[in-house]
Amino acid sequence: MSEEQIKNLEEQFEARILRDDKIEPKDWMPEKYRQTHIRQISQHAHSEIVGMLPEGNWITRAPSLRRKVALLAKVQDEGGHGLYLYSAAETLGISRDEMFDQLHTGKAKYSSIFNYPALTWADMGAIGWLVDGAAIINQVALCGTSYGPYARAMVRICKEESFHQRQGYEIMLKLANGAPEQKDMAQDALNRFWWPSLMMFGPKDDESPHTAQSMKWKLKRKTNDDLRQQFIDQTVPQADILGLTIPDPDLKWNEAKQGYDFGEIDWDEFWQVVKGHGPCNKERMKARVNAWENGAWVRDAAMAYADKKSELKNKQAV
């Protein structure tokens, strides 16, 4: 293709996005669009999969059968989200094995929040309420993103996520209205998950170089800081209902901006965790890599069996 032709295609492409057309797998797309989407969608998929671990950690110890069943269902949903998202990424020409390989070698990232440990039952509440809450804010915007398979996966995921968030909030509510030890447990979980949740929206806008491009492709519809503000403004009243205290002495209502002012995020911690030195980065990767390596013989067997069966079928067809 001539440069002229490419430029033409690119212009058409941008125009389609501008008028809210969905881009589909077979459509022409700029290479950078493809790569950016592979990166973001697979990162999102990885986050679902790694995100199974901190909650999976409490399945065997859930305090009641009702909660155990709900937690299993939730973690199972996360696995399901991983599936849709890997499928969406595969439409862009990358295999699931390649994506796993990127995860296991540290080339691909996943949401840093899952590098914090789930230490008490209340963390199941806090993760649902805060982490899923923050995720939804990020994801709702993505329901209108330009890449069709991703947008459609998002619609489905958002629906389930908001159910998870309500479930998490309900866990917190029960604890906050329970015995003093339960309320302490809830407050402690909020203390530990509050700041990492704020970090989920990424660095400040002035340190987030990809924002402009992502906005154009509708991979982002608001900036990190805007989303973070939205999350805080939505969450503070929820904490009030719980009777819990947000662990930020600088948090206060700003009448002028009709939102909350809040304290400085510990960006050193943010970067430490992103770079692989959070409390559980090593543990999480070990768990994923072990699962993968210990499962190799199972996957090999499934493949060999499928080959045998299709061979047999072919023979019978002849």
Partner: protein
């Protein structure tokens, strides 16, 4: 307790679900593929969903103020009535699948009979469960075939798991005192009558999977009398942790 036999009969069924569900729950997030991970979690979910119905009914029968979670999580080790098979550890995916398969075939046969129970609650739970368990059985049978007739490594591994766990199959067909009374009353299933069907079905699948049917003279038993393997204590320490550490609270 007025109807202790019925109560014990229900636990004899439900504890299998609880312990197997708990074992599968340990694996969540650690499966060999995303699909099997989701499937095993789903089976755990089904089993524990069913168990809630059973324990709720047991709590009603007990009538002493205990609720489902008290029954599930506040008994002593010697009071759990599950068979030894379901408490065996997740040694590897082969053992997980072999355990599941050896239980599913039994579970399906048992529920099919339980559906005919004169006790309408049990019959209703059986009906609801059968649909799920039929899926479990298909899942585990398919994997027995895949692993048995997959690679030589998978063949050897699943054969070893089958051989090891075979010793726990006979116990499935032992009648407890509660069983006998419940069978006589038209409520319980006569498990002794399921045995031939069970070994036939299991044998057919193993054969299809190019696996050998273990020959065994000796079997292990005891679970139905609360005499378990040393594995169960550790499982219970986790299962009961919250209820023990935070007694009398709502969650």
């Amino acid at each position: 307790m007025k109807n202790e036999n019925l109560y014990n009969y229900i636990l004899g069924i439900a504890d299998n679900n609880l312990i197997l569900g708990q074992r599968l729950g340990e694996l969540c997030g650690h499966g060999p593929t995303l699909e099997t991970d989701i499937a095993c979690t789903n089976i755990s979910l089904d089993l524990l969903g069913q168990v809630r119905s059973f324990y709720q009914y047991a709590a009603k029968i007990a009538g002493d103020g205990r609720k489902e979670d008290d029954i599930a999580m506040l008994r002593k080790e010697r009071d759990y009535l599950n068979v030894l098979l379901v408490e065996q550890p997740n040694t590897d995916f082969g053992y997980t699948i072999a355990r599941q398969f050896l239980f599913d075939v039994y579970h399906f046969l048992m529920l099919t009979e339980l559906e005919k129970s004169q006790d309408l609650t049990l019959s209703a739970i059986a009906t609801k469960s059968l649909k799920e368990v039929s899926y479990h059985k298909r899942f585990s049978s398919d994997w027995i075939k895949r692993l048995g007739d997959g690679t030589s490594e998978s063949h050897d591994r699943i054969q070893m798991a089958i051989n090891d766990l075979w010793t726990y199959t006979d116990e499935l067909f032992h009648q407890t005192e509660a069983d006998k009374v419940m069978v006589a009353e038209g409520i319980g299933v006569d498990v002794t009558k399921l045995k031939d069907d069970y070994y036939n079905q299991v044998g057919n699948i193993l054969e299809e999977a190019t696996l050998e049917i273990p020959e065994r003279k000796y079997f292990q038993k005891g679970g139905k009398q609360g005499i378990h393997t040393e594995h169960l204590g550790y499982l219970l320490a986790e299962l009961q942790y919250m209820q023990r550490a935070y007694p009398n609270m709502e969650w």
